[in-house]
């Protein structure tokens, strides 16, 4: 789907918008791009587009004035890090000519190309970028609803939930049982449940060594599995038990009042329960009609334009990005590709076929890091692994290699947050 420049400008002139009024006035109508979502994907895209095409009027819509980052939030749960280190404001990119509206996108009209905000405000757009992250699929796991999350936190969106799980962990007596339940694919941050289990095991080993951690899994395999399991054997023997799908790990029901998790094989009574529930694309994706029956958003891998709604692009965790995992790194890479494609489309040029990179670090202990990397390109309309590239850290590497990757993990976080929010 291509928009000719003439059609694009006509669209620009047809409807006035907050973005147009708030942006520096120019003689000619400016192309209006609205980005919804102030996380790694949305902010990166808005800033990259503003730099690539300074004549565009870019508006970023995000409800919260501060963003709390998920990567490294497992270190917050296990007491290794302050939540303040996860929080980022929007001061830097206010100054770049991007209009930032702290408001909620309530509805999208793809035909009239309008985004409705709270009150009567509506923004017209020529191109809309949705970067809404994930929503919890409440009710998909019987017994697990918003009230249950106050007793059995998911902590899969960083913030209060992260702190709640940390407080519960700190309040647990030595000798207690902590149960984590991990969902089936796909979900945000594929290695995340296993890093979390590792760092909680580290906390228990150092602070409450008579305790037990059980990781109930709806899968038989997971990201960096061999590396995680080798490290668990070495660092946390007898403390951390992984129960695979085949061994009855799939949780079918929870009872928050008694902190009980039920599988087909057994009932687990937890002192602290962390339920990582099934997920879907953020709510606005559903409202805009860009999510399919899976709950996620099919996209064109060159432009990240929705396959369901022309003119709307979806990036980050919400998108179905083929072989790419749902990670902050992937969101950042997709955002840059989407911004470059938007800049080309606004100039009536054909976007070039991209190559994207992902790297996901996980900490198994504070000085023990492992990674998985990939390089991706579009093949037959899907983002596909470039053959021969990517893969995981070597097995059996010496401690200094693991320590170096742990240091790189932290440096990666400082780098990506400086680039996105700084």
């Amino acid at each position: 789907m291509r928009t000719t420049r003439r059609a694009f400008l006509r669209g620009s002139a047809a409807t006035a918008s907050v973005a147009l009024l708030a942006a520096p006035a120019l003689a000619q109508a400016k192309a209006r791009v609205v980005v919804v979502g102030g996380g790694f994907a949305g902010v990166t895209c808005a800033r990259a587009l503003q730099r690539a095409e300074p004549r565009a009027a870019v508006t970023l819509v995000e409800e919260n004035p501060n963003y709390t980052a998920c990567p490294f939030s497992n270190s917050v749960i296990s007491g290794l890090r302050d939540i303040a280190a996860q929080r980022f404001g929007d001061d830097a990119f206010h100054a770049e000519g991007i209009v930032v509206l702290h408001d909620r996108a309530k509805a999208v009209d793809p035909q009239r190309r309008l985004v409705s905000l709270s009150g009567d405000t509506a923004l017209g757009y020529d191109r809309l970028v949705l970067a809404p992250g994930i929503n919890i699929r409440w009710g998909a796991l019987p017994g697990y609803d918003e009230a249950a999350a106050e007793l059995m936190p998911h902590a899969w969106k960083a913030g209060e939930q992260t702190l709640l799980l940390r407080r519960q962990l700190e309040a647990m007596a030595d000798g207690g049982t902590l149960v984590i339940s991990a969902p089936a694919n796909p979900f945000r941050c594929p290695p995340g449940p296993y890093e979390r289990a590792s760092l909680i095991a580290y906390y228990l080993k150092t602070k409450k060594p008579r305790s037990k951690l059980i990781l109930l899994d709806a899968k038989d395999s997971f990201s960096k599995q061999r590396l995680f399991q080798a490290a668990w054997q070495q660092l946390y023997p007898g403390l951390l038990e992984w129960v695979s799908l085949s061994n009855g790990g799939k949780v079918t029901k929870v009872d928050p009042a008694t902190r009980t998790l039920v599988t087909d094989f057994a009932t687990y009574k937890a002192d602290v329960a962390n339920v990582i529930p099934p997920q879907r694309a953020g709510h606005i994706a559903e409202i805009a009609g860009v999510a399919d029956q899976t709950g996620w958003c099919p996209i064109d891998p060159v432009t990240f334009e929705s396959r369901l709604q022309p003119g709307i692009h979806v990036i980050g965790d919400a998108a179905i990005a083929g072989a790419m995992p749902k990670s902050a790194f992937a969101a950042n890479a997709q955002a840059k590709v989407c911004a470059a494609a938007l800049a080309a489309l606004l100039r009536d040029e054909t976007p070039s076929s991209p190559k994207l990179i992902n790297t996901c670090y996980s900490l198994v202990a504070p000085d023990y890091g492992i990674s998985i990397a990939g390089v991706y390109h579009p093949v037959n309309g899907q983002l596909t692994d470039v053959e021969g590239a990517g893969g995981v850290s070597p097995g059996g590497a010496p401690p200094d290699f693991r320590a170096l990757e742990a240091a790189y993990a932290e440096a990666w976080f400082r780098t990506i947050t400086a680039e996105t929010f700084g």
Partner: protein, 74 residues
């Protein structure tokens, strides 16, 4: 080809001199230096944690485009 370099800066702590990182900085280096490094990572001649796995995904032409773009960043 123009798009390629856009995805790179996060890889090696290259984004800003202000970021504290043990990773070698790659901004504002000569293109030839970056090309040589990427090719050495790709062949395994230069050892690395993650760069070898990433460099294997890029052709000589792509590496050249990346190097030229990076060299122009400040």
């Amino acid at each position: 080809m123009r798009l390629l370099p856009l995805v790179l800066p996060v890889v090696a702590g290259a984004v800003s001199a202000k970021v504290d990182t043990p990773a070698p900085r790659i901004l504002a280096r000569q293109p030839a230096e970056i090309i040589a490094a990427m090719q050495a990572f790709r062949s395994g001649e230069r050892s690395s944690t993650v760069m070898g796995r990433i460099a294997k995904g890029f052709s000589d032409d792509e590496i050249r485009a990346i190097a030229i773009w990076l060299a122009a960043q400040h």
